[in-house]
């Protein structure tokens, strides 16, 4: 009996991850609802911000929609992390470790659930945005790029969740870190363009916060069109976060699966 190719193992573990994700509506539904609630609150309260001279668009909804993707991706961190931590706590990871499973298959399979959830989220947010009148300046192709970037961001955040789970082995630890991630989100250019932030220290923080560039990458496709710099920064950072987080998670997995 052979271990089978890596791809086949990824498919089997990915199927399990997707099934598990979809069978936890208590975890999944908030990741759809909360970003939309926050979007509604922000648009309702900050609509007049779109009239500030120099604001890049006359619709605050167009401006704010990008943030929902990032907040949705944040849920991916928690979901991926707590699912993997549960596997460690229940011993299921040990069960998998006793099969000829390759370590990479576990990680990639685990993240398949994150990708599936991110795809559904991105489609939902975009659909609601389109129904509410958002018309992405980048056109139909831009819609696909928005979804792709949203999924890439979720993959990176999910890999961070997996890394934390493998390091701590505790779902509670992942949940406890959730508010910290939220601080990163709120200390970004989520509510205002960076050039319109008048408080110096806050503008500095938003400028060095990578989350700003993730938001601005998606936002540029909605309100600007094809902005090469914003896209390069958005994709570069999203890809970089995903690569670093995946590498860190792989090393953590090797330590966790201390099998010979």
């Amino acid at each position: 009996m052979t271990s089978g190719p890596l791809l086949a193992q990824v498919v089997h573990l990915g199927r399990r991850s997707v099934l598990r994700t979809l069978r936890q509506p208590v975890n999944v539904v908030p990741s759809f609802i909360f970003p939309l609630i926050l979007l509604a609150v922000n648009v309702g309260g900050l609509e007049s911000a779109a009239r500030i001279p120099g604001f890049p668009t006359d619709s605050y909804l167009d401006f704010a929609l990008a943030f929902t993707f990032i907040q949705g991706a944040l849920f991916a961190t928690t979901n991926a992390g707590t699912d993997l931590a549960r596997d460690i706590q229940t011993g299921f990871l040990n069960r998998l470790a006793l099969t000829p499973m390759k370590s990479a298959a576990l990680l990639l399979g685990q993240l398949a659930g994150v990708i599936a959830l991110a795809l559904i989220q991105a489609t939902l947010y975009l659909t609601i945005g389109l129904v509410a009148g958002v018309r992405p300046e980048s056109g139909v192709l831009g819609v696909f790029v928005i979804v792709f970037l949203g999924v890439l961001i979720a993959l990176g955040f999910g890999a961070i969740g997996a890394f934390l789970a493998l390091r701590t082995g505790s779902g509670e630890a992942i949940q406890a870190l959730f508010p910290l991630f939220f601080v990163f989100l709120f200390m970004s250019s989520m509510n205002l363009p960076r050039n319109l932030i008048e408080i110096d220290w806050f503008r500095t923080v938003t400028t060095i916060n990578p989350v700003s560039y993730l938001i601005e990458g998606i936002r540029s496709l909605i309100i600007t069109g094809w902005d090469a710099q914003a896209l390069a920064l958005g994709f570069g950072l999203a890809g970089g976060i995903a690569a670093i987080a995946l590498a860190a998670a792989s090393i953590a997995l090797r330590g966790r699966l201390a099998r010979s």
Binding site: M1, S3, L13, Q24, I88, T99, G169, G255, A258, S260
Partner: protein
């Protein structure tokens, strides 16, 4: 699959960070086709030993060979030869029994048609065919254990590790699991390494027993041989009147040394063996002592544990490092 090599360990040890020596240089030899009961209280080192023998945890000293392969250097070969049901059924509550088996068979690289056949066969063998499409979170403890066993058998292992497989099970589920384990060894020639803290389980099921305490093996042999080592039976009497307890004790101590008994009773090891029982009854009668209860105890594995460690196995691990609280299996 019939095992030809069994399990051998020499000086096997595992030290965790902070200097905790969970397993302290044990020697083991389990013959092919044997059911070996590894008996000890919580925190004695049973689970750590199993983790090392199943390649989930590298030893910090010593060597071990399982199915003829070195656990430290031939992990993949060891894993392909063994099946394991570790402490607590390691299952995903959101998946069905069928989905568990399909995943496990797929990860073992079985062709699709073989996966279905093997899954159905194992579900039937452990009596879960009707519950196969129910999510595991709806299963009882016994059903989870049976599914856990089925998952361990997916690839037809020649050696099976069962880490406290009946903990928390009702008597009916426990007996069903014992029957299946015995059948695996008898009919399929599977070598079984079974950890337990239940004396009865080791006594009923195991061909040979190793007793571990504080990371060291304190006794090793067949249950009959170990009990024979202890030798003499004990007799316990509970006086009808609590005030007569001292008088009963004085009378019994004529026949042997005092041993721990129930709180209300008096127990002595009979120097002359069970033939003295009639003399004991006559002596008590001669003293005019009335008894509520009189019982002859044949030596048990608990007596063996008591003789080897100075304390009873029942509750012996309560104040010690719990196996479950042992450090996570990460490299030192």
């Amino acid at each position: 699959m019939r095992d030809a090599h069994g399990i051998q360990a020499e000086g096997l040890a595992r030290e965790f960070k902070g200097g905790i020596r969970a397993v302290d240089g044990i020697d083991l030899s389990v013959a092919p086709g044997e059911i070996f009961g590894f008996l000890g209280p919580n925190g004695a080192g049973k689970s750590t030993t199993v983790h090392m023998l199943t390649t989930l945890l590298p030893p910090t000293a010593g060597t071990a060979r399982v199915a003829g392969f070195d656990v430290a250097h031939e992990g993949a070969q060891v894993r392909s030869a063994i099946g394991a049901a570790l402490q607590e059924a390691a299952l995903d509550p959101l998946l069905t029994g069928n989905e568990h088996l399909r995943l496990q068979t797929a990860l073992h690289g079985m062709p699709k048609a073989e996966r279905r056949r093997r899954s159905d066969e194992l579900l039937e063998r452990v009596g879960l065919t009707e519950a196969a499409d129910r999510k595991v979170r709806t299963y009882s403890g016994g059903m989870k254990r049976r599914l856990d066993l089925a998952l361990a058998l997916v690839h037809g292992p020649s050696i099976l590790f069962l880490d406290e497989p009946t903990t928390g099970l009702d008597p009916q589920s426990r007996n069903a699991l014992w029957t299946e384990v015995a059948r695996l060894a008898r009919d399929d020639g599977v070598t079984v390494f079974l950890t337990t803290q239940y004396l009865e389980e080791a006594d009923v099921l195991a061909d040979r027993v190793g007793i571990i305490d504080h990371g060291k093996i304190v006794a090793d042999g067949t249950p009959a041989a170990l009990k024979a080592e202890i030798g003499r039976p004990s007799v316990e009497a509970i006086p009808a009147e609590p005030a007569e307890r001292a008088a009963v004790a004085r009378t019994l101590e004529r026949f042997g040394a005092s041993v721990p008994g129930s709180p209300k009773g008096v127990a002595v090891r009979l120097d002359g063996g069970e033939e003295q029982l009639a003399d004991v009854v006559r002596a008590l009668d001669a003293e005019g002592l009335h008894l509520q209860h009189l019982q002859l105890h044949a030596p048990t594995l608990d007596d063996v544990f008591l003789a080897k460690t100075g304390r009873s196995l029942e509750g012996a691990g309560d104040d010690e490092l719990d196996a479950e609280s042992e450090p996570e299996p990460v490299p030192a």
